[in-house]
């Protein structure tokens, strides 16, 4: 019974693949490569050593852009949220910069960093920084005053108060923010690679189209992007299951 339940999504995906293959073979015009062609494309990429190279290139940029953003945005957001006055001063700037799509920064990224890794890392950084600042501000502002008062009551130094009360209190909300933002980073890297560099999965998609309409490679790139995005999300979700971090999810 449980095996059947577990097999259900697999069966569903298999059914979709079959429908895809049948629809493509029945279609009079070539609107999309079929699943077999895509598998052929992926095999092609592996044989040329490009798949691993491009995946590594994309992950490299995401790692740097995302980590830099997290390292700078979280302390900044926590500080802004903690000191009400800082929030009043900085909030308008954050609110204006936040709705600007990271893609709008592409020309400036190229102007500042040229075509290359730095430009796309910068774009990912921009895409992650503002959402993370806001997450951190919200997280610290939603810490109940009783926790802070209790911490002060037991004679904690300011540093200990941050480490023993604020940090554990905000961690669950930060983890949710980081998971969402990592998804954003993965969206942005593909777009950045279409313009600002000549490697990575985004570049693969544009290059495959430009260099002879290899739509099997285009869709292969899309499938790989989807799979890696799923793995990144699962990785972040597994952090939320750590017992000492799980408290806010179990308390309904």
């Amino acid at each position: 019974m449980s095996l059947l339940v577990r097999l259900r999504p697999v069966a569903f995906v298999a059914a979709l693949l079959v429908i895809w293959q049948v629809a493509v073979s029945l279609s009079p015009v070539h609107i999309l490569p079929g699943p077999w062609e895509v598998v052929g494309g992926i095999v092609d990429l592996i044989q040329h050593g490009l798949l691993l190279k491009y995946v590594v290139a994309s992950l490299f940029r995401v790692t740097w852009g995302f980590t830099l953003a997290a390292v700078l945005a979280i302390p900044a957001g926590l500080t802004i949220g903690w000191y009400g006055r800082a929030e009043m001063a900085l909030n308008p700037i954050v609110q204006i910069l936040r709705p600007i799509s990271p893609l709008a920064w592409i020309p400036i990224a190229i102007l500042w960093f040229g075509v290359g890794d730095l430009a796309s890392i910068f774009l990912i950084f921009v895409g992650c920084f503002f959402p993370l600042v806001l997450t951190a501000i919200n997280a610290v502002q939603s810490v109940p005053a009783v926790y802070v008062n209790a911490g002060r009551n037991f004679g904690l130094s300011p540093a200990a108060l941050v480490y023993r009360v604020l940090y554990p209190a905000v961690i669950p909300q930060l983890l949710v923010g980081l998971r969402i933002t990592l998804g954003v980073a993965w969206l942005v890297v593909v777009a950045a690679e279409m313009i600002a560099v000549n490697s990575g999965l985004g570049f693969l998609i544009v290059d495959a189209r430009n260099a002879g309409n290899r739509y099997d490679l285009v869709v292969a790139g899309m499938v790989i992007i989807g799979l890696i995005g799923l793995l990144l999300d699962l990785g972040m979700r597994s952090l939320e299951k750590v017992k000492s971090l799980r408290w806010s999810y179990s308390e309904e």
């Binding site: 008062n149 009551n153 037991f154 200990a160 554990p168 179990s250 308390e251």
Partner: protein, 256 residues
């Protein structure tokens, strides 16, 4: 046990006034509060919700500064919270990211590991949480969380406890048990306790003296001495007399 307040003074509040200003409006919350609490005394501050008794407790604990007047504990003016005097919130105050042991040991960071573990074990037993040392607060009932918070406060050996309607969120049976537990602990540890409540019975069952607060701006309307030895017979004539007296006082002040 002494029935009258101890001759030795623990806390004095002198002409405490508190005015909150918000959006240009100022609210007079406390007015001219004068109070003396003896060492080892159990004092209940009784008044209806929203009368300012919580504000008074917060100024005594050092979380708020009064607009006027001064609070002194052991002769020293209160300037902020202090680990010698622990504030017990309703069970909301336990840290959900720490286990029972972690919570009780929270304030013991200056002790050696062995001492800390010994202290934790002692207070786990005192509040009857054996078997739950590794449990997180989300796995505990409301009454257990409340006992956990009291244990966390007691573990640092405070000489004063401030309790802000600590049993308000509990069901009536658990509440009765908790009152008995608190009296037992108080008799064992001999701390000075200031206990805020809106429940007349709770005040008369627990306190050496009951400070009855008036409506806002709150001031102390009367201090009633509860001259019945523990364990108190809540059907006795004296108990009912004191209870009715306080009820009349509150009725006069708040016209129920």
């Amino acid at each position: 046990m002494s029935l009258s307040p101890s001759p030795e003074t623990k806390l004095t509040a002198e002409r405490i006034g508190m005015v909150f200003k918000r959006d240009g409006n100022s609210t007079n919350v406390l007015r001219d509060i004068n109070l003396t609490v003896g060492r080892g005394e159990f004092l209940c501050v009784l008044g209806p919700s929203g009368c300012g008794k919580s504000t008074l407790l917060n100024t005594m604990a050092g979380f708020l500064s009064p607009t006027s007047g001064e609070i002194r504990i052991d002769g020293e003016a209160v300037r902020g919270p202090d680990p010698r005097r622990i504030f017990v919130f309703q069970e909301r105050g336990v840290f959900p990211w720490l286990t029972v042991e972690g919570n009780i040991g929270f304030g013991l960071f200056k002790l050696s590991r062995a001492e800390r573990e010994q202290r934790i074990a002692h207070y786990v037993q005192l509040v009857g949480l054996e078997g739950f040392q590794k449990a997180y607060p989300a796995e505990l009932s409301g009454g257990m969380k409340q006992r956990l918070e009291v244990a966390r406060a007691l573990a640092v050996n405070p000489d004063m406890l401030f309790l802000d309607e600590p049993f308000g969120a509990l069901d009536s049976i658990t509440r009765l048990t908790m009152r008995r537990e608190l009296l037992r602990i108080w008799e064992a540890e001999k701390n000075t306790i200031i206990f805020v409540t809106h429940d007349i019975d709770e005040a008369v069952q627990l306190a050496d003296r009951v400070a009855v607060m008036s409506d806002r701006p709150a001031t102390i309307q009367q201090i009633v001495e509860i001259d019945i030895a523990h364990p108190r017979d809540i059907g006795s004539a004296r108990y009912l007399e004191l209870r009715h007296g306080i009820f009349d006082q509150l009725g006069l002040a708040h016209k129920v």
